[in-house]
């Protein structure tokens, strides 16, 4: 998605330093002091994880920390809310992955 560079009331977007981070192994640029959620959306990324059991995609829902839908892994710390976390230089971010559901599979096979 595009950044809103010029706003009729809020003015121009401040000049901010671009900082590199990686998401699922690929390098992207964030602006200093922006959240992981905003930086990823600005890079056109909406899917932050897939559901642990079903594997269906998930993104930002509430954007202010209540809904927990945007959880990602940041520098090996799991379940971090992308909407409340500021991107730091060379941050390593991983999307949430599907978990094995061994018991469920076993039950299904019976």
């Amino acid at each position: 998605m595009t950044r809103i560079m010029d706003h009729p009331i809020l003015g121009k977007l401040n000049d901010r330093k671009a900082i590199p981070f990686t998401f699922d192994g690929k390098t992207y640029e964030a602006l200093e002091n922006e959240t992981v959620a905003a930086a990823l959306l600005a890079n056109g990324i909406r899917t932050l994880r897939i559901h642990e059991e079903s594997g269906t995609p998930r993104g930002v829902y509430c954007n202010i920390g209540h809904c927990m839908e945007c959880r990602v892994t940041v520098n090996d710390q799991a379940n971090v809310r992308a909407c409340l976390t500021v991107v730091e230089q060379h941050m390593v971010i991983e999307s949430g992955k599907q978990h094995p559901t061994i018991v469920k599979r076993m039950v299904e096979q019976q």
């Binding site: 595009t2 950044r3 809103i4 899917t47 559901h51």
Partner: protein, 414 residues
């Protein structure tokens, strides 16, 4: 040691911190978000006077004032528990436990979700999420959007998205059902919009005023509501279309809608798909009060206030000694009211702490008057019956927690 911990650095929390610090108390403010201001930083609308209410500037003003008074503001910190220990409160946060005699909970509001099939697809978000992404983060949420739900907050944010050059293609209602309630009934939605328009012919509602002020619509109701909707600031408002499902493979590709009758019942065979790359769900706001519940505060459901609210007095006290509340946790109202309530809570805390002698009574009284005044002058109300909701709480408080004035003399006589 700190005297006061304020949970939430929004308009109520910052104003509370300022009033407390002004009275000589040591105050720390905790907030989960990356910067202070709360939901105020997303707000942007034109006042009746024509001036813009710029939430970012208002937040900055409050933030600077708090800093000048040496308030310690910590952002990016979560509070997950609080408990009473003798005369003190232990507040457990992600940076450790903070022990204080006074706690002000000013956690604001959250949005009612309206679940519908497909709503977990990336690109579906609460309307508030779009507001924060647009005005705070300055990233476009998409190219072409559909808003599900027609209420005051949705219209305000529609306007903000348009200001930022984001195309909102249509506003439709959620499908009628137990989770959408009246938000899925065209007649009810129309009634509440007309009520709002009647109360507030403000520039905020200018966007839909032509149809809202129209008596013909009031009288004929939904029966003759145009099938193609009426335009709200250029965006068709389709009160007789209900969103049935959000469709898309990996992200939002569109919304399946159907025509409804005036009560919101789907008319079979009228399904169609509107293309979109983002969807905003606008279910309205409710007081975000988990921490007051965790603390053990009693609650009351008051519809006009937006849901369950902690018992509180007009001086912003709760029944729990040392625990105060302010802002949207006490009922859904504007940021201006939140500031005024925060100031009240701040002085109320100072009074309990024995600060400032006789002056504090005057300050507290003035702060309470100010809340009433701002409520009266408000251009817009989230709930037109807010006064009645406030009255219910104050009567409840009187009944439960205030001794009758003549109790002592009666006892003496006996």
């Amino acid at each position: 040691m700190m005297d006061v911990i304020v949970i939430g650095a929004g308009p109520a929390g910052l104003a509370g911190a300022i009033a407390s610090a002004n009275s000589g108390l040591k105050v720390i403010v905790i907030d989960e978000f990356i910067k202070p201001g709360g939901r105020l930083i997303g707000q942007l609308h034109q006042e009746r006077s024509g001036e813009w209410w710029n939430g970012i500037e208002e937040s900055e003003r409050l933030h600077q004032e708090a800093i000048t008074l040496s308030v310690d503001i910590r952002c990016g910190v979560s509070v997950y528990n609080l408990e009473k220990d003798g005369d003190l409160w232990n507040v457990h946060t992600s940076i450790g436990t903070i022990t204080v005699p006074f706690v002000l909970i000013a956690t604001g509001a959250a949005e009612y979700p309206i679940p519908l099939p497909g709503w977990t697809l990336p690109g579906v978000m609460s309307i508030g999420a779009a507001q924060v992404m647009t005005n705070v983060h300055r990233v476009q949420v998409g190219k072409k959007g559909i808003i599900v739900g027609a209420n005051i907050l949705a219209f305000a944010i529609l306007n903000e998205l348009q200001l930022a050059g984001i195309h909102v293609d249509r506003i439709v209602l959620p499908e009628k059902g137990p989770l959408s309630g009246k938000a899925g009934e065209p007649e009810e939605v129309m009634k509440s919009l007309l009520h709002a328009a009647h109360l507030a012919p403000s520039p905020l509602l200018r966007i839909g005023s032509r149809f809202m002020k129209n008596d013909w619509f009031r009288k004929t109701g939904m029966k003759f509501f145009p099938k193609n909707g009426v335009k709200v600031n250029g965006t068709p408002l389709l009160l007789r279309k209900a969103a049935i499902e959000v469709i898309g493979m990996k992200q939002v590709e569109g919304v399946r809608v159907a025509d409804t009758d005036a009560n919101g019942t789907i008319i079979p065979g009228t399904e169609t798909v509107y293309e979109a790359d983002f969807v905003c769900i606008a279910g309205g706001l409710y007081p975000l009060a988990e921490l007051a519940a965790v603390a053990g505060c009693p609650f009351q459901f008051i519809h006009e206030l937006g849901g369950h609210v902690p018992h509180h007095s007009e001086t912003m006290e709760t029944p729990l000694e040392g625990l105060f509340v302010a802002g949207n946790i006490t009922g859904i109202e504007s940021g201006k009211i939140a500031i005024a309530q925060g100031t009240t809570a701040g002085y109320s805390i100072a009074k309990h702490a024995g600060k400032c002698g006789a002056v504090i009574d005057e300050q507290l009284n003035q702060a309470i008057q100010n809340v009433r005044l701002i409520r009266m002058q408000a251009a817009i109300q989230f709930n037109p019956d807010i006064e009645s909701g406030r009255r219910k709480m104050s009567e409840l408080w009187e009944k439960l927690y205030e001794k009758p004035a003549n109790l002592h003399s009666t006892q003496k006589l006996g």
